[in-house]
Symmetry: D2
Subunit: 302 residues, 4 copies
């Protein structure tokens, strides 16, 4: 349960005082505002603010293309056109601000997306809480034997028990010592900026993260992908649901062209054309390496 | 007069339909929404959307610094502290979207500020209007004789008349030919993307420009400065007024620490210290070049 | 002929003084250094500096993936893998700095690629030369009748003559007046920052443009594309040739996966799968709009 | 001792094969190339590549300002002028690529500088080494009692012993369990991407970090500052020395205008002016808060 009664009271207060505005408002997003969507064992995602809606995308595009966009009759068609032809700037006209609580090792992946604004809780100034991510049994997987960066099946039996015990005990012991080191009772107390170095990477941190819709969708394409690490994917999945309510046309186009689509190389396109003409193409005659061919089969056979 | 009756009708419609929202709302900004503030002879700035207010800045800072910010009792004090110590990320948590109509040579300076989102009217797709910036008499200045990039006093008499005639006649003739070239009456009609090359740099374009508050203030510091070209400075001035209504504490801190402040070098600080101890410091004994010394005198004598 | 004898002498001098360095050196690039490749009637592209080579890409990737990259035996295979899976950061480890002379209307498109460093010749400080882009007869096209932003066939006869005359005469007259206005003989002389507004968008400017390889390839994908405006495409084409000599493996992978490849939507992939199973799919049964279907046919029929 | 014999052999090999190039070469930088400068107990900084030198800065500035820069006679004077007036783009024309080995908690601060290119060793793919930062006795400080984010004096006696024991023992135990969990001997072996979460933030990671000179100097201003955390400051200090050898004029200007300079607010400037006229100004009559006044006294009294 990620929220304290105080936090829930704060959220209730924020949700109880509607204001009047002349700005564009997305009804699907208003219902998410401030509400914490639980992710993992102690994490959450909650919307703090947003700017724009589907209409803000087409409005900006119409400034750019002027009469050139008149021929596309409706907003959904125009959004699909923009997405299909990689027109990124109209999607940058929407913005979202999220409050996210997440384990440090997830935060380290997340922050690599540079085109965003971030304010993270500082462990130089303040004391971190005793909250650690401990995987649920079905998320405690073995190293993949075919992919250096993937997972295989879930661990079981003694091994699973041992791993959980290590993760839990080490986290607790490290935190005990963290608390003891920074304590100023009967001693000077180690500087917080130093004591934090004793905390393992499954401790939770939190931040405000603000990003435009174009860069958000780029983040989601990489992090809601099946190859992303499970622990960041669940955050991306939660944000996908929010985005679908915020900008439904843009999100639908994103699902069709990005999440469900695929990029085919010149070589792969040539194979498709040959196959459509009836030729039997094999890896050997494809011009692709074994790895590429396997991926290609996954795409056209899926 | 920069707005057509149709545009004014559209603005009136946008302003007549308030919505209910749970988001943070800045009352000072609501009154600006959609309204076009005239700039130069045909340009304008109008607010299309915004995210956040003064409180959004301190809210984000408090996520970062946790209990570390408790000692600063109020929002204004914290905002001044953040500005003074160059904490930029909390200011990035506010965002503004403007619709700007401006001459192309101003747009060319403006676009150099890279950390912003832009959708510009496309002269590949669409036809530009016959609107050109022609300076008012008091903005028709001679080249500065002391500064390569500055202006001296206003031109007068025959010279002013001749310049105005050149600017006006050339603009009109170029636009006549632009129209004639793209016309498809009795001819094929030149492609728009080619015909536009005949148009001089004082023609008006327009764009949506979206930027966070930190980068907006950086833009304003450079472009509302006395050394900025007059034609971009009047846009910056108009945006300064809007920003002061949007985030009054942040804007006040910005005026004190950035617009009205100055950066002194190690050498300059050393001179100040010597002067405060009673030493008479001259350019020769200052360690500064003549140019630096002149600037230094401007700062401490101002 | 874009280069003056003085410029050519400067290039010859730069090319005649080789230095010794311990840095990675790309032999294919050394031969391009400083040499101006002519583009359009007065423009050019020349390489001022570069950092890294194909090996710098794999070296960085091997820092990231450690032993995980051992299984990919050679540099070319690894580069293809990185390109195929959108690993962008290793490509950011190479950098190029170009000196480009180009018409202002081309510069205005180019500058929209924000992730680059630019120093442009300033018409506030300095006087622009009398050099204008005048299209060659085969680049003087009519507006496309099927695409708002495209060109149709070349103009001919009287219309072509008239257009060339307008472009040339207007450029010359505007430049005459520019010179006259800034002259300080017998008058004060208008400020350069004002006088430049009389110059049409086909005047040449120049800049230093520095960009990493990842962002360069993104630029090339968009600007060397058949849909890009011809006048920027010829610059992109010239840079493609340089890049192919600089990082041959990366460029070859780029050609296969980006330039020659295509992105298929979920809907399009489903159609391919159905067609490969023998189903006759038409636009009506495809789930695509007419526009999408036409593009899809172009991709799989191409 | 941060380098293994294998690494030293690799460095020796890289340093023994000079190439011929036509590029600008910085002699002061060539001597640093590849050599690892030790930082902290296991970390290092080493230059992998660089682009440009002092002359590349003025060369780019002269493209921008054309004849406007003729009046500044020499390179050093021009560089000082550019630095003083915040002309950032010419400094962006130089680039540096570093290989850095650093503790994770330092990496987390460092990565917040977004305008840079990074390839970090991936603990999803590969196994981290058993190397942890353990502070030297004189860097084991108490929490500051006056500054939430600072350090006081060094711990001593039993407390210091206890802290060192905690840091060392916890690191070793967590690493033992990490190794045990990922082992595939007699068990499946936990996925690396999960096992890494057990490792504390003082474990070392490494990355390639590439940045332009303007953004590097911004990084150094913040991180070589007395208020920066010691553990990142020592990296910044090492890079300062390298930068001073690479671009000596730019670095000297940076020291004068940025590192040794200070930003005074409008209020502070007004106080300076009053004091120079002989007025006795106190905090009460200054218009500053107590905190600001204390900082102001530090600047003008320093």
């Amino acid at each position: 349960m990620p929220l304290s009664p105080e936090q829930q009271a704060e959220i209730d207060a924020q949700r109880s005082t509607p204001q009047t505005t002349l700005r564009a408002t997305a009804p699907g997003m208003e219902k998410h505002l401030y509400t914490a969507h639980p992710v993992l064992d102690h994490g959450f995602v909650r919307v703090i603010d947003y700017m724009g809606d589907d209409n803000a995308i087409t409005q900006a595009a119409r400034v750019s293309y002027g009469k050139g966009t008149k021929s596309v009759q409706n907003d959904e068609g125009l959004i699909r056109y923009l997405m299909r032809h990689w027109h990124s700037t109209p999607f940058e006209m929407c913005e979202i601000k999220l409050h996210v609580k997440l384990p440090v090792f997830v935060a380290r992946q997340w922050i690599r997306h540079r085109t965003a604004n971030v304010n993270e809780y500082s462990a130089r100034y303040s004391i971190l809480d005793r909250e650690f991510y401990i995987p649920a049994p079905d998320a405690l997987n073995a190293q993949s034997v075919i992919n250096n960066q993937g997972r295989g099946e879930a661990l079981s039996g003694d091994e699973a028990q041992r791993v959980l015990k290590y993760l839990t005990d080490d986290a607790m012991r490290c935190y005990d010592h963290y608390e003891e080191m920074i304590s100023d009772e009967g001693q000077q107390g180690l500087a917080r900026e130093l004591a934090r170095m004793n905390l393992p990477a499954n401790i939770y941190t939190q931040w405000y993260w603000k990003v435009d819709l174009h860069n958000l969708l780029h983040f989601l394409r990489l992090r809601a992908d099946a190859h992303a690490q499970y622990e960041i994917r669940v955050y991306a999945d939660a944000i996908c649901k929010i985005t679908a309510d915020w900008v439904p046309y843009a999100y639908k186009a994103f699902e069709d062209y990005r999440m469900g689509g695929a990029n085919l190389s010149a070589t792969a396109l040539d194979c498709v054309r040959r196959m459509l003409k009836g030729e039997v193409v094999t890896q050997e005659t494809s011009g692709m390496s074994k790895g590429e061919w396997r991926e290609f089969e996954g795409v056209i056979g899926g």
